[in-house]
C-alpha cells in the first residue's frame, strides 16, 4: 500500500498558537486506554505479527560494526524462526520488519545486507541525536545518506527552536531537510522528552507536518524519557487534526523504551482507536526498537507451544 506523500503547507502560526492540550485529560486517556481494549489468543498472535511488520529494527550504538549491522539485517529479513512462521501459517507472507535503522556510516553495510528484499534502510541524520551541528553539515549529512542508499531519513528537530517559540526557524529548517531528502521519506524526531510540555509537543508536531514530514517520531532513544503513551496520544491527535484540515496522511513512529510485546499492542490499540485501521500498517506506523522483536518472538512461541523459552534463545545480533 502506498499513499500520497504529505506535501506540507505554508506556515500557519495562528493554528500553532491556538492549540491547547489538557494534560490531566491526556494522561487519563492514555492510562485508561490499555485497559479498555485488548486482543486475545489468535488475534493477539496476529497483532504481534503486525507489530513485527512495523518495527524499524534499530542499532544506534557507538560500537556498531559492519558485522553486527549485517546480523541485525539478517534478523530483519527473518524476524522469527522458520518453524514458528510455519506453525503460524504465515510462511507465504514473507514476514520482515518495516525497516532497518542505523547511523550514516552503517547505511552502506545495511543496504548491502538487505539487497534483494523490499526492506528499506533508514538513516538517523541531521546531527542525531542532539541536532546541534551546523545547519549546512546537517543538510549535507542527509544528502550523503540518501546517496548511500537510505530510503528513509530520521532527522532530529532543533529543540531550542521549540523551547524559544521560534516556529519560523523550525519550519524553515525542516523544509530544508525535506528538500534534501528528495524521494527519501522524512521522519522528524521531536525528542519529546526535551520539549517540556505537551502543548509544545503538539505545536512541534504541527510545524513538522506543515514543513512536509512524512512521519513524526517521538524520540531518539537517547533522551532521559523517550516514547510514552501520553506524548504519543498528543502526536496522533495532531496527525488527525492535520489530516482533517489538509487531507494529507502523516505517519507516526514511537521510539525508545518499547521493549515488550504488551507495549507494542498498547501502541497498536492507540493507533486503531485514535487514527483508524489505516495507521496499522508500515506505511503509516512504525515502532523504533531493538530488543522488542525478541520479546514478540518469545510471546509468539508461547502462543504456539504454551511455554516460555529463555530470552537467550532469541538473540538479536
Amino acid at each position: 500500500m502506498s499513499i500520497d506523500r504529505n506535501p506540507g503547507m505554508a506556515l500557519d502560526l495562528d493554528w500553532v498558537s491556538e492549540t491547547r492540550v489538557n494534560r490531566s485529560a491526556v494522561e487519563r486517556r492514555a492510562s485508561t486506554l490499555p485497559g479498555r481494549r485488548t486482543v486475545k489468543s489468535h488475534w493477539q498472535a496476529a497483532w504481534l505479527v503486525r507489530a513485527i511488520q512495523v518495527i524499524d529494527l534499530t542499532t544506534l550504538g557507538g560500537d556498531d560494526t559492519p558485522g553486527n549491522v549485517r546480523r541485525l539485517c539478517a534478523k530483519a529479513r527473518n524476524p522469527i524462526r522458520a518453524d514458528l512462521a510455519d506453525a503460524l501459517g504465515i510462511t507465504s507472507l514473507g514476514l520482515t520488519t518495516g525497516a532497518v535503522c542505523v547511523y550514516h556510516e552503517m547505511v552502506e553495510s545495511a543496504v548491502h545486507a538487505l539487497a534483494g528484499t523490499q526492506i528499506p534502510v533508514a538513516a538517523v541524520s541531521a546531527g542525531f541525536p542532539a541536532g546541534l551541528n551546523p545547519l549546512d553539515l546537517r543538510i549535507e549529512e542527509i544528502r550523503r545518506s540518501v546517496a548511500a542508499g537510505a530510503r528513509e531519513i530520521d532527522i532530529v528537530i532543533s529543540r531550542r527552536h521549540v523551547l524559544t517559540g521560534n516556529w519560523r526557524a523550525l519550519y524553515d529548517e525542516t523544509r530544508a531537510f525535506r528538500e534534501a531528502c528528495g524521494t527519501a521519506h522524512l521522519k522528524t524526531i521531536l525528542a519529546t522528552g526535551e520539549l517540556a510540555t505537551l502543548r509544545n509537543v503538539y505545536r512541534a508536531s504541527l510545524i513538522c507536518m506543515m514543513a512536509g514530514a512524512d512521519f513524526i517520531k517521538t524520540s531518539t532513544g537517547k533522551e532521559t524519557v523517550n516514547a510514552t503513551l501520553p506524548v504519543s496520544l498528543v502526536m496522533v491527535r495532531a496527525i488527525r487534526a492535520y489530516q482533517a484540515r489538509t487531507g494529507a496522511k502523516v505517519g507516526f513512529k514511537p521510539a525508545g523504551g518499547l521493549r515488550t510485546a504488551k507495549q507494542a499492542l498498547d501502541w497498536l490499540i492507540l493507533m486503531k482507536e485514535e487514527l483508524g485501521d489505516e495507521w496499522l500498517s508500515p506505511t503509516l506506523f512504525r515502532i523504533g526498537a531493538s530488543s522488542l522483536l525478541a520479546d514478540i518472538e518469545r510471546q509468539l512461541e508461547h502462543y504456539l507451544t504454551g511455554a516460555y523459552s529463555a530470552s537467550f534463545r532469541h538473540p538479536m545480533q
Binding site: 489538557n22 487519563r28 485488548t38 488475534w43
Partner: protein, 420 residues
C-alpha cells in the same frame, strides 16, 4: 489461509470474553432459585411467589428470586430490631473486626461478584471488575475504620436503630455498599431490598456476611418488586429510610413517610450539564463527554447528559463526537473490550426508545453510531440527540440511557428543573 493470516487483513480486536463459569457454578449450587436472608436464615423459595431473573445481554432467564411478602418484611424488621440491641452495644473495634473480615471476603470473591453483576445487570465486565467491586471492598474497609475510631473521633453520635434501605439497579452492589457499610459501622441494623432486576449480588453478599460472622439480623436482605419495597418503607418498625433511585419514587417516599417520624435520606436522579468552552482541548473534552455519558450505559444519576457547547466550536465538537461514537464498542458485556453492554431490562429499553422518538418528533436530530454485535439481548447503540436550541427539559431522573443531548450554549438559557 489460516486464522492468523486472515486476522492480519482485518486487524479486528476479536473476542476477549470473561468466563461465566464461576457465576454459573454459584447459581447452579443454589438450584437457580433464591430465598431471602432474614435473621441469619435463608427462607425457602416458594414456586408460586418467584420473580424471574433475566440476563439482559442474552434475554435468557438465569435464576429466580423470591417475591417478598408483608410477613417476610415483618420477620426481617423483627430480626433487625432484635439484633440491634447487641450490635449497637458492641464495642466499635469489635464491629470493625467483623467488617474488615467482610471486606476481605468481598475481595476474595471479587471475580464471582463482578461476573454475577455483569450477567444480572448487563453492564460491561470492565466496569464491574475495575470499578464496582473494588469500590465495594474499599467502602467496607473505610467504614470498618469508622467503627474502630467511633468512640474517639465521632463522640456523641449514636445509632438510629433499624434502617430500611432500597437500592437501584444501576450499581447494585456498590449502592448496597454505600448504604450498608456506614450504617452497620455506626451500630445500626439493616433491612435492604435491592431492585427486582438486580438482586443476585445482594444475595451473594448476604452469604459473605454469614461467612464473615456478621451476627444474625444485623444485615437482612429481602427481595421483590416495588410493592415489597413499599411495605418496607411504610413499616412502623423502621427508624430510618435510605433510598437511591428515581425522583418520582423519592417524592412518593416523602409523601408516605410524612408525619411518621422516620428519618429519611434520598439520592435521586439528575440531568447534569457538560459545558465546553471554546478554549478547551476539544479532543480531551470528547473523552470527557464519552466517560460522562456512556459510562455504565449512561445509567448514572450524575451522567453528563446535557451537553452545552459554546457556539463557535459547536459544529467542530459535534463532528469529532460523531467520529468518536463510531469507536464505541457495543456488545456482550462479558467481553473485556466492550464499552456499552445491555440495558438492564426490556421495559427500560422501551422507555428509552419512546423518549428518543419523542425527541425526534420535537425536531431533534438523532445521531446513532452503527454498531452491530447484537446477540439477541437488550442492546442499544450510543445515541446523541442534537436539539440546537433550548426547549423542554429531558424528564429529569427518568431517562437513564446512553444518550447525550446537545445544545449550543448561547441558546441554552435555562433548564426547567435544575438540580434534579
Amino acid at each position: 489461509m489460516t486464522k492468523v493470516a486472515d486476522i492480519l487483513t482485518t486487524m479486528e480486536y476479536g473476542p476477549a470474553p470473561e468466563s461465566a463459569k464461576l457465576a454459573n457454578q454459584w447459581l447452579d449450587a443454589h438450584s437457580r432459585a433464591f430465598g431471602m436472608y432474614i435473621g441469619g436464615q435463608w427462607t425457602t423459595p416458594t414456586p408460586d411467589r418467584m420473580i424471574d431473573v433475566i440476563n439482559p445481554s442474552t434475554a435468557k432467564r438465569i435464576a429466580a428470586i423470591s417475591h417478598g411478602t408483608a410477613d417476610n418484611v415483618d420477620a426481617a424488621v423483627a430480626a433487625a430490631r432484635k439484633a440491634f440491641k447487641s450490635w449497637s452495644q458492641m464495642p466499635g473495634h469489635a464491629r470493625a473486626k467483623l467488617m474488615y473480615g467482610l471486606a476481605r471476603k468481598i475481595q476474595k470473591h471479587a471475580r464471582l461478584l463482578a461476573v454475577l453483576e455483569t450477567m444480572d445487570n448487563g453492564k460491561p465486565i470492565r466496569e464491574t471488575r475495575d470499578i464496582d467491586i473494588p469500590l465495594v471492598a474499599r467502602h467496607f474497609y473505610h467504614h470498618a475504620g469508622w467503627a474502630q475510631v467511633m468512640d474517639t473521633e465521632l463522640p456523641g453520635y449514636t445509632p438510629v436503630g433499624v434502617v430500611g434501605q432500597v437500592v437501584p439497579w444501576n450499581f447494585p452492589l456498590l449502592m448496597l455498599a454505600w448504604k450498608i457499610a456506614p450504617a452497620i459501622a455506626a451500630g445500626n441494623t439493616i433491612v435492604l431490598k435491592p431492585s427486582k432486576w438486580t438482586s443476585l449480588s445482594a444475595l451473594a453478599f448476604a452469604e459473605l456476611c454469614d461467612d464473615a460472622g456478621i451476627p444474625p439480623g444485623v444485615v437482612n436482605i429481602i427481595t421483590g418488586d416495588g410493592g415489597t419495597g413499599d411495605i418496607l418503607l411504610q413499616h412502623p418498625g423502621i427508624d430510618k429510610i435510605a433510598f437511591t433511585g428515581s425522583t418520582e419514587v423519592g417524592r412518593h417516599i416523602r409523601n408516605v413517610t410524612a408525619g411518621s417520624g422516620k428519618k429519611l435520606s434520598l439520592e435521586l436522579g439528575g440531568k447534569s450539564p457538560f459545558i465546553v468552552f471554546e478554549d478547551a482541548d476539544l479532543d480531551s473534552a470528547i473523552e470527557g463527554i464519552v466517560d460522562a455519558i456512556w459510562f455504565n450505559q449512561g445509567q448514572v444519576c450524575c451522567a453528563g447528559s446535557r451537553l452545552l457547547v459554546q457556539e463557535g466550536i459547536a459544529e467542530e465538537l459535534y463532528r469529532r463526537l460523531r467520529a468518536r461514537m463510531e469507536k464505541l464498542r457495543v456488545g456482550d458485556p462479558l467481553d473485556k473490550a466492550v464499552d456499552i453492554g445491555a440495558i438492564v431490562a426490556k421495559a427500560q429499553l422501551v422507555e428509552i426508545e419512546t423518549l428518543v422518538r419523542q425527541g425526534q418528533a420535537e425536531g431533534a436530530i438523532l445521531w446513532r453510531a452503527l454498531l452491530g454485535m447484537s446477540n439477541g439481548g437488550i442492546l442499544l447503540s450510543s445515541d446523541a440527540l442534537h436539539r440546537g436550541r433550548a426547549e423542554r427539559h429531558d424528564r429529569p431522573g427518568r431517562d437513564f440511557w446512553p444518550r447525550a443531548g446537545g445544545n449550543d450554549l448561547p441558546h441554552a438559557s435555562r433548564s426547567d428543573r435544575p438540580g434534579q
